[in-house]
């Protein structure tokens, strides 16, 4: 039952967005293979949201266990990330189906998805570690994060192609690691017409260092914060 719904939920959301954005708003008309393009964006974004929103109250939710036994606290967050990854793998079967229907060619470039997914996991874990540790002390983090996620959904080019917004704005938006990951994934899997960080900055290879470096830095800081705070989880959660 759970698997069916974890497959069905993103599909239904995709269906709604697809109808709205192709039939009414006509945003996706210019993008080849827009259904696959949209679905891929939604699934990657969903992974990020599943991990981060699921982690916010994960430590506090396990408080009962934390007060009774000592175990490495990061496994709580890691288990959420792994569960979400299994979900992502299952739902990507749907992408494959859509690709076959839409005659999207698969090239060896698909291998780039591996480092991109790793970057996605790292970015999600960074946020998850920070939020879950912060929530132990500041109980309104969950409300704040709900709003931030909503805003970030629109600030990330999931529904709209970057070509439809001013280049200056696009150049800023793409520096967001989530935007870079989604656009790069679309580029290697769906269509080379996707605006990626590479194309927006004219093929400058070093520009990738900004989102990747930011992700790595954030992950480092978040891990350090989590590690420092985890000593007090038992008494504060």
């Amino acid at each position: 039952m759970g698997y069916v719904w974890s497959l069905l939920r993103p599909l239904l959301i995709f269906l709604i967005l697809y109808i709205v954005f192709t039939k009414f708003l006509k945003v996706g008309a210019a993008v080849p293979h827009y259904p696959v393009y949209l679905l891929l964006g939604i699934l990657l974004w969903n992974y990020f949201v599943d991990v981060t929103s699921g982690s916010v109250n994960a430590i506090v939710g396990k408080g009962d266990l934390l007060r009774k036994i000592n175990f490495p606290k990061y496994v709580i967050i890691l288990s959420i990330a792994i569960t979400a990854l299994i979900n992502l793998a299952l739902t990507s079967i749907v992408i494959v189906v859509f690709m076959i229907i839409g005659h999207v060619g698969i090239t060896s470039q698909i291998l780039w998805l591996v480092p991109l997914i790793l970057e996605l996991i790292l970015a999600s874990l960074a946020v998850a570690f920070f939020l879950s540790a912060a929530f132990v002390r500041y109980r309104d983090v969950s409300y704040i994060w709900e709003v931030v996620v909503q805003a970030a959904f629109y600030a990330t080019p999931i529904l709209y192609p970057l070509s439809q917004i001013p280049t200056v704005a696009a150049k800023i938006i793409i520096l967001n690691p989530m935007a870079q990951i989604i656009q790069d994934s679309r580029n290697v899997l769906v269509t080379h017409q996707t605006e990626t960080i590479g194309s927006l900055y004219g093929g400058d290879k070093f520009i990738w260092l900004i989102p990747i470096g930011f992700t790595a830095f954030a992950a480092f800081i978040a891990a350090a914060y989590f590690r420092r705070r985890s000593k007090f989880f038992a008494e504060e959660s």
Binding site: L66, K68, I69, K231, E235
Partner: protein
């Protein structure tokens, strides 16, 4: 650290910052910026300068009253809490049982729960494989292992959890009063198994209120009171100290004016009642006050268990004591000594002031005072007069 030491605690302090002193939200950070900074922090000292060593293979008891800090100490030994100051060294695989069946999931089978609980306690799948049969045998639940845990009776769940606790191949076991639950037979089985563990040099740290268990099983014990170590000694000595702690303390209770269980015409009232308990006597100290001129009052009282059973009682008429006439505003002071033959536990005292007819009530007061009796043994009966039994 010496080779035969299993746990070493060095100058451990633990403070808890009371949560209301801290900004509990991001919003709170902002709002407190505009409020005057109240830098006074309220800190609770749960443990103060705790130092001791536990040898390998020792059965070590930690005793103390509620709130004395013993559970905090156990949690620090288990690594659940971090000490504010000081260090804890442990040697060997430590398995804590702050609660039985940590992480048990009712939706899984008994077998899965053994593996889940084992994983949470820090055992690998292989290690559990090797312990599995023993655990199930010990719990006497072979036939139920493929049943979902939610279909177990609570006794069966406890038994499975117990078996995990005692059969887990740990070098140090920390046990927090968990053995107080479960039926007596199984408890005995567990304790006897612990005794057996001594031969394998397994260290057991055991937190309890039960002095008979301390006397029977522990090699050494630690008494903790008011966040500090009072004494570390033989179980007999510690059990004595623990019991004495309650005895030395006179329970003084002033009359509270407002009480619902009180009735009567109020022409004469009980001004105050104080109780004092020691090994030999229970003393009542009673002051009666006249609100009107009153002649020949009768004072009676009874002692009831907290469950409501009336144990004993008397009144001044039955004792052939004639109380003087009391003028308005005057007081009479009485003292009553009762041999302390009550069993270990808490009791309440009901008092009554009556007219000479023994019927009309001037001041009837249920639960006027409470007394707690601490004895180093507990009988399941109200009276413990002391027994002299000899073999002829």
């Amino acid at each position: 650290m010496n080779d035969d030491i299993a746990i070493k605690v060095e100058g451990v302090y633990k403070d808890f910052v009371l949560p209301h002193e801290r900004a509990g939200s991001v919003k709170g950070i902002f709002t407190s910026m505009f409020r005057q900074a109240t830098s006074k922090k309220e800190i609770q000292h749960a443990l103060k300068h705790i130092s001791f060593e536990i040898k390998k293979g020792e059965f070590f008891g930690i005793v103390g009253r509620n709130g004395s800090g013993k559970s905090t100490l156990l949690k620090i030994l288990a690594g659940i809490y971090q000490p504010t100051k000081g260090k804890v060294y442990t040697k060997g695989k430590l398995v804590p049982f702050i609660e039985l069946g940590v992480g048990f999931n009712p939706e899984l089978t008994g077998r899965d729960n053994v593996y889940l609980n084992g994983a949470i306690l820090g055992f690998s799948e292989k290690e559990i494989d090797s312990m599995y049969k023993e655990i199930v045998d010990f719990a006497e639940l072979e036939r139920f292992m493929d049943q979902k845990l939610k279909n177990y009776s609570s006794g069966m769940q406890v038994r499975l959890a117990f078996s995990m606790a005692v059969r887990a191949n740990a070098e140090i076991l920390l046990i927090d009063e968990v053995l107080a639950v479960g039926d007596a037979d199984f408890q005995r089985k567990c304790f006897n198994y612990f005794k057996q563990l001594k031969n394998d040099k397994t260290t057991v740290v055991f937190v309890t209120h039960d002095m008979s268990a301390v006397r029977e099983y522990c090699d050494r014990a630690l008494l903790i009171e008011d966040s500090k170590v009072v004494n570390i000694s033989t179980p007999d000595k510690i059990a004595q100290d623990y019991v004495k702690m309650f005895m030395d303390e006179p329970v003084l209770q002033e009359v509270s004016k407002k009480n619902d269980d009180r009735w009567g015409d109020g022409s004469i009232i009980l001004e105050s009642i104080k109780t004092k308990v020691n090994d030999e006597f229970i003393e009542l100290d009673v002051v009666i006050k006249g609100n009107k001129d009153f002649s020949m009052p009768i004072l009676g009282f009874r002692i009831c268990s907290f469950a409501g059973d009336e144990i004993t009682g008397t009144n001044t008429k039955k004792e052939k004591i004639i109380l003087p006439n009391i003028k308005k505003g005057a007081t009479v002071h009485l003292k009553c000594k009762i041999p302390n033959i009550l069993s270990d536990g808490n009791y309440r005292i009901d008092t009554a002031l009556q007219y000479p007819d023994e019927i009309t009530v001037a001041d009837w007061w249920d639960n006027a005072a409470t007394i707690s009796i601490r004895k180093d043994r507990h009988l399941p009966y109200s009276i413990d007069p002391g027994f002299i039994i000899s073999i002829i």
